[in-house]
Structure formats: structure tokens, C-alpha cells
């Protein structure tokens, strides 16, 4: 990592070189180091969350069978003779969801990519509040450790779903309390981060970088930050109330006359379990747009770069992203159609849910149309980005019968729901994140990842993800229920058991398919092909900084002279015209 930039500013900066190791790399306030910290931690948690799921897949495919080779490593509280206990199954389920969403995907999409790229793409030296940025990471780290450690609590980890519905979650063991405390850390980490992103994007844009010239990735992070800022606090409030119920015996969510194990529960009562659902989903619905917006932002950048033409309709993308963000706050109760809400409420949320599909489709359509007439380079990032489009499309379409209350009656709480949201997140968001890693790896390290390994990773991941999640849609349609240790106890579900075997084998193979990626990643760090600042010949500002950028990012603050996607501009000799370049290219 050579530091090729000259330092033109005053005495402040000399201090950076004299920083001790722990201040430069551990408690760093540099957005790039923090972004990498988020990246490493999130990738490890994604692997961990995947591992939790693989254990569950064994149980699905081989119900009641001992887990070979490693089954006896697990304590009696989790597996007896290698046979998974239901309690452990439910812990795996709750923690798989929690880890993937809150410790994996969002920290990678927002904490890693957002932190690393936003200041660079807007021509800023760092985020607006570097100390706050550092605190965000460490709060996330502590929250992650707490969640990880929750398996070792006497009654095991949280086991009431990632959704923690009461009364079950109130009655559950200590792991649920640990989950609530862990969530408090993660929520506050996210809060500080969102304040930082909003302030940075509003205040620290380079001269000439008006909002209508912002890279779409920055817009997507901007909208995402508002979602995190305003939607998380109600979950924080709800968590406080749930802690009260669990620790102080209050009855916020405990109804009167609840019978547990043939005894009437000794609480004051008067509470409402649906209150939790309202407050939880008030966050958790915008949360899914937090999962997808950075992804479409990444895909937009990569498509423009690898088609050598501007995105089809920048304004439509931006307005749709803003509209999606706004609407995401008023659709939450489509997760609650079966909670005996009145018909007016059901209708209201059904209508808003149908409306929100419009901007989503506009975004997808614009991205697809952006391919039309392009000079397409099918490198690994582009393969992932292009595959994202139909996969996200499928995921979105499968959401329609869930958003319509009448069909949701049959599909709610079945594997169809699991198929739907995994389509959007796995071959959807995660593919976009892989695309981002392959695309920006050269900027972060000065080396390219290997194309052959990348393509192997891509093809097998694409095929296997479809093998895993498409059958789940079918299972759901015939009535296989989700969150069940033994879904085949119902006769109507039994014909689906061969699909469970097929899915589990595919999941195991998908794990193996990640090996080329992991090998590629580490090998390329040390021996990948060395590249210059702008190996993809892209237009956005991060590509004018050295690879990797040094502290302060730019020698002189850049200025924006044009839009972000001036590819194949008429009159230009080269097929790209960088945003920060003053003269003609």
C-alpha cells in the first residue's frame, strides 16, 4: 500500500503518520478503514449465518437423524447423540435471520460499501463525523459479540423467530434478553451511522456536485439512511417494553387470561401482543428496503460502467428511490393481515403495498433498459449485476400474492414467504454485494480479483440459489409451514419432503461454491493482478483517487463538472468522461 499523495494541508495531517497502530487500524476514524472493518466483520457473520442454516437443512432433509461427523461435538442441550433438539432448531432459525439481516447484509451494504464509497464518490476527505463513525463500528462489533455469545447462555439463544413475537418471546429463556440487549447496541450503531451519512451527503459534496449529479449509489445510501434514522427507534422502544415485560413482569404484550402449561399466567394482563407486531414491523418493513436500496445502487453503478452508456433514466431512478423510501413507512401491516385487524386497515395496507410495487418496478425496468444498446463487458461484477435483475424481479413478483390479503391467507407463514424474501435478498441483494466486491476490490487493494474463479463462483451460485429457493415457493403453495422443526407432521405437507432433500443438498453445494470466492479473495489480496487507479475506466470520483486512497482521499478537493455517467459522450475521444475531469477526454 504505497502512499502516493502529497499532503497540501496544514499541520493537522502530519499527526496521521505518527499515529500508533491501534489508533490507525483498530480505533480508526478514517472512513475507509472503518468501511473495511465493517466489511470483514460482516462477511464473517454472513458465513456464520450460512453455517447456522446448514445445520437446519440437515434436520429438514434427514428429520431425527444424527448429524454425521460433527454431531457429537454439540452439547446435550442442543443435540442428543447428534440428533437436533427442537429448541436448538428454533435457536438456529431465530439467529440465522437475525445474523443475516442485522449482522451480515446491512453492515456490508451500508456500513462497508456505504462508508467506504460515499465520501469518495462525493469528493469529500472523510465522513462529517469521524469519531461517530468509529463508534458506530464498535457498537456494531459489541452487538455482534453479544449475539454470538447468546448461544452459550443457559437456555440457549433467542428462539422465538427473528421477529420475537410475544407472548412466546416473553416466556422464553434468557437468550431472548441477550437478543434484546444485542439489538439495542445494533440499533444505536445504525442510528449514529445514519446521522453521519445524511450530514455527509448534504454538507460535504464537492463543489459542482449538485444533487442531480450524484451517483445513483449515493442517492440509494441517502434514502436508506433516512429509513434507518426514522424506522429503527420504534423497534428500540418496543425492545425496551419487551425487556420490561421479561425483567420487571409488566404486561405490555401479555394479554389477560393467558394460559401457559395449563396455568393462568400470573401477570397483570391488559396487554396486547399485536402492539409488538405493529412496532416491530414499523421498522422491519423499511428494513427490507434498507436491504435492497444499496443493492440497486451498486447494480446501477456497475451496469453504467460495463455498458459504456449512461443509465436509461436517471431522474426516474432517483424519484422512484425516494418514493419507495417514503412508501416503505406506510405498508408495514401487510405482515399482519392475519392478526384480526379490521377490513378498513387490511384494505388500506393492501393498497399501499400495491402502490409501492410501482416505483420498485420502475427501478428494475430502468436498470434493464440500461442494457439496451450497450457495449456490454461481461466481467464478473457485470455477471452478478445482470443476474440480479431477473432474480430481484422474480422475488418481487412472488411478493404480490403476499401483499394481497386474500391470497395471503393461504400463503402466510408458509415456505412460500421464505422463498419470496430469500429470492430478493440472496440472488438479489447478496449478488449485488458480490458484484460490488469484485468491482471495487481494485480500488480498495490496488489489485484485481481473478476472473476465472469469479465466473465459477457466479455460475454455481446462481444455479444453486435457484435450486434452493424455487422449491420453497412450491412447498409453500402446497401448505408446508415455516418455522417448524417437523413440518411433515401434517399429512398434506408430506409430498414435499423430497424437495427438502433437494434443497438441503443444493445448500451444501452452495457452501462449496463459495470456496472459489474465498480463495480468490485472499489470493488476490497478495498476488492479484496489480492495477492503476481506474482499471474499469469508470467516471465516478472514487476512481480518480489512488488505489487504495490515502488518508484525506484527494490531494486537492475535486470538483464535479458534469453528471456521473458520461460514458460514450459525443465529441469525446475516449468512451468515458470522468465527472471530476475539467477538460474534454
Amino acid at each position: 500500500m504505497t502512499d502516493t499523495s502529497k499532503h497540501g494541508h496544514a499541520d493537522h495531517d502530519h499527526s496521521h503518520h505518527d499515529l500508533p497502530f491501534w489508533k490507525k487500524y483498530i480505533f480508526s476514524q478514517d472512513h475507509k478503514i472503518i468501511g473495511l472493518q465493517y466489511g470483514w466483520t460482516a462477511l464473517l457473520f454472513l458465513l456464520y449465518g450460512f453455517g447456522l442454516m446448514l445445520l437446519m437443512r440437515w434436520q429438514f432433509a434427514n428429520p431425527g437423524q444424527p448429524l454425521p461427523l460433527i454431531g457429537n461435538w454439540f452439547p446435550e442441550s442442543q443435540m442428543i447423540g447428534g440428533v437436533m433438539l427442537p429448541e436448538f432448531f428454533y435457536q438456529l432459525g431465530a439467529m440465522h435471520g437475525t445474523v443475516m439481516v442485522f449482522l451480515g447484509v446491512v453492515p456490508l451494504a451500508v456500513g462497508a460499501f456505504g462508508n467506504y464509497l460515499v465520501p469518495l464518490q462525493i469528493g469529500a476527505p472523510d465522513m462529517a463525523f469521524p469519531k461517530l463513525n468509529m463508534m458506530s463500528y464498535w457498537l456494531y462489533f459489541v452487538g455482534g459479540v453479544i449475539m454470538f455469545a447468546s448461544f452459550w447462555v443457559p437456555d440457549g439463544a433467542a428462539q422465538s423467530g427473528w421477529t420475537s413475537y410475544p407472548p412466546l418471546s416473553i416466556l422464553a429463556g434468557q437468550g431472548q434478553t441477550v437478543w434484546l440487549v444485542g439489538m439495542a447496541f445494533l440499533i444505536n450503531s445504525s442510528l449514529l451511522g445514519s446521522i453521519n451519512f445524511i450530514t455527509t451527503i448534504v454538507q460535504l459534496r464537492a463543489d459542482g456536485l449538485s444533487f442531480d449529479r450524484l451517483p445513483f449509489f449515493v442517492w440509494s445510501q441517502f434514502v436508506t439512511s433516512f429509513l434507518l434514522l426514522l424506522a429503527f427507534p420504534p423497534l428500540m422502544a418496543a425492545s425496551v417494553l419487551q425487556l420490561f415485560d421479561r425483567l420487571f413482569g409488566s404486561s405490555f404484550f401479555m394479554p389477560t387470561g393467558l394460559v401457559v402449561n395449563d396455568q393462568v399466567s400470573a401477570v397483570a394482563g391488559g396487554g396486547n401482543p399485536v402492539l409488538w407486531q405493529h412496532l416491530f414491523w414499523f421498522l422491519a418493513h423499511p428494513e427490507v428496503y434498507v436491504l435492497i436500496l444499496p443493492a440497486v445502487g451498486i447494480v446501477g453503478e456497475i451496469i453504467a460502467c460495463n455498458t459504456r452508456k449512461p443509465l436509461y433514466n436517471y431522474k426516474a431512478l432517483v424519484y422512484s428511490a425516494i418514493f419507495v423510501g417514503f412508501m416503505s413507512f406506510v405498508v408495514w401491516a401487510h405482515h399482519m393481515f392475519l392478526t384480526n385487524m379490521g377490513t378498513t386497515m387490511n384494505t388500506f395496507f393492501q393498497v399501499t403495498t400495491m402502490i409501492i410495487s410501482i416505483p420498485s418496478v420502475i427501478i428494475l425496468t430502468v436498470l434493464v433498459l440500461s442494457l439496451w444498446g450497450g457495449s456490454i463487458r461481461f466481467n464478473t461484477p457485470m455477471l452478478f449485476a445482470v443476474a440480479f435483475l431477473p432474480m430481484f424481479g422474480l422475488g418481487g413478483l412472488t411478493g404480490l400474492p403476499l401483499g394481497l390479503a386474500a391470497t395471503d391467507i393461504h400463503l402466510h407463514d408458509t415456505n412460500y414467504v421464505i422463498g419470496h424474501f430469500h429470492y430478493v435478498v440472496a440472488p438479489g441483494t447478496i449478488f449485488a454485494l458480490f458484484a460490488g466486491i469484485y468491482h471495487w476490490f481494485p480500488k480498495m487493494t490496488g489489485r484485481k480479483m481473478n476472473e476465472t474463479l469469479g465466473k465459477i463462483h457466479f455460475f454455481f451460485s446462481l444455479i444453486l440459489m435457484n435450486c434452493i429457493f424455487a422449491p420453497m415457493l412450491i412447498q409453500g403453495l402446497i401448505g408446508v409451514l415455516r418455522r417448524m422443526y417437523d413440518p411433515m407432521q401434517y399429512a398434506h405437507a408430506q409430498p414435499a419432503q423430497p424437495l427438502n432433500v433437494f434443497i438441503s443438498i443444493s445448500a451444501g453445494l452452495l457452501a462449496i461454491a463459495q470456496i472459489p470466492f474465498i480463495v480468490n479473495f485472499f489470493w488476490s489480496l497478495f498476488a492479484g493482478q496489480k492495477v492503476e487507479e481506474n482499471p474499469w475506466q469508470a467516471t465516478t470520483m472514487e476512481w480518480t483517487a489512488p488505489s487504495p486512497p490515502s488518508h484525506g482521499n484527494f490531494v486537492t478537493p475535486p470538483q464535479a463538472h458534469r453528471g456521473p455517467y458520461e460514458y460514450s459522450a459525443p465529441g469525446c475521444k475516449k468512451d468515458f468522461w470522468p465527472q471530476a475531469m475539467k477538460e474534454t477526454n
Binding site: V274, F329, G342, M345
Partner: protein, 95 residues
């Protein structure tokens, strides 16, 4: 806000004192009204109206919203919209 002249600051201070007196008076009023034991719906309405008025005095004058910029007002407007939504919708979900 940093570019204020001493005269402007003194003018602001006069306003702060007046707002303080208004807030104190409104506090006495809201407590006094509660002793009237009005029917619930009316009591709620009156209490919330007085509280909202007090809050707007604090927000407008102590928090300088009367001279604050558009960007801040925009963020607040967005927040207030979602706040009201969150406040009302769960409670009326049985309809």
C-alpha cells in the same frame, strides 16, 4: 446563528423571558383545567392543545425554528408526518 450582533442577542433574550412566562402560565392553566374533571374526550383535547402550544413555543423560540433553514424544516416535516402515522394507526387497527 453565529453572526448575531449584540443588539440582536439582547432582543432574543427579551423574547426568551416572555416565552418563559408564557410557559409557566400555561403550565398553571393546564393543571387548573385538570381539576375541572371535564369529560375524557374534551379533557384529552384541551390538554393536548395546551401541550402542543407550549411545545411550539419551545421549538419556535428556544430551538430557533423561527429562523431556521429549509433543510431542517424539511427533515422535521417528514418526521412529523411519520410520527402522526405511527401514533394513530396501531390504535385504530381494529377498524
Amino acid at each position: 446563528m453565529s453572526g448575531l450582533t449584540p443588539e440582536e442577542v439582547h432582543h432574543h433574550v427579551k423574547i426568551y423571558i416572555r416565552v418563559f412566562l408564557a410557559l409557566a402560565a400555561l403550565t398553571v392553566l393546564t393543571v387548573g383545567v385538570s381539576y375541572l374533571r371535564l369529560p375524557v374526550a374534551i379533557a384529552v383535547a384541551v390538554a393536548l392543545i395546551i401541550a402542543t402550544f407550549k411545545a411550539s413555543l419551545v421549538a419556535t423560540f428556544f430551538m430557533h425554528l423561527n429562523v431556521e433553514r429549509k433543510i431542517i424544516m424539511a427533515i422535521l416535516a417528514l418526521t412529523v408526518f411519520f410520527f402522526i402515522f405511527l401514533l394513530i394507526w396501531p390504535a385504530i387497527s381494529r377498524f
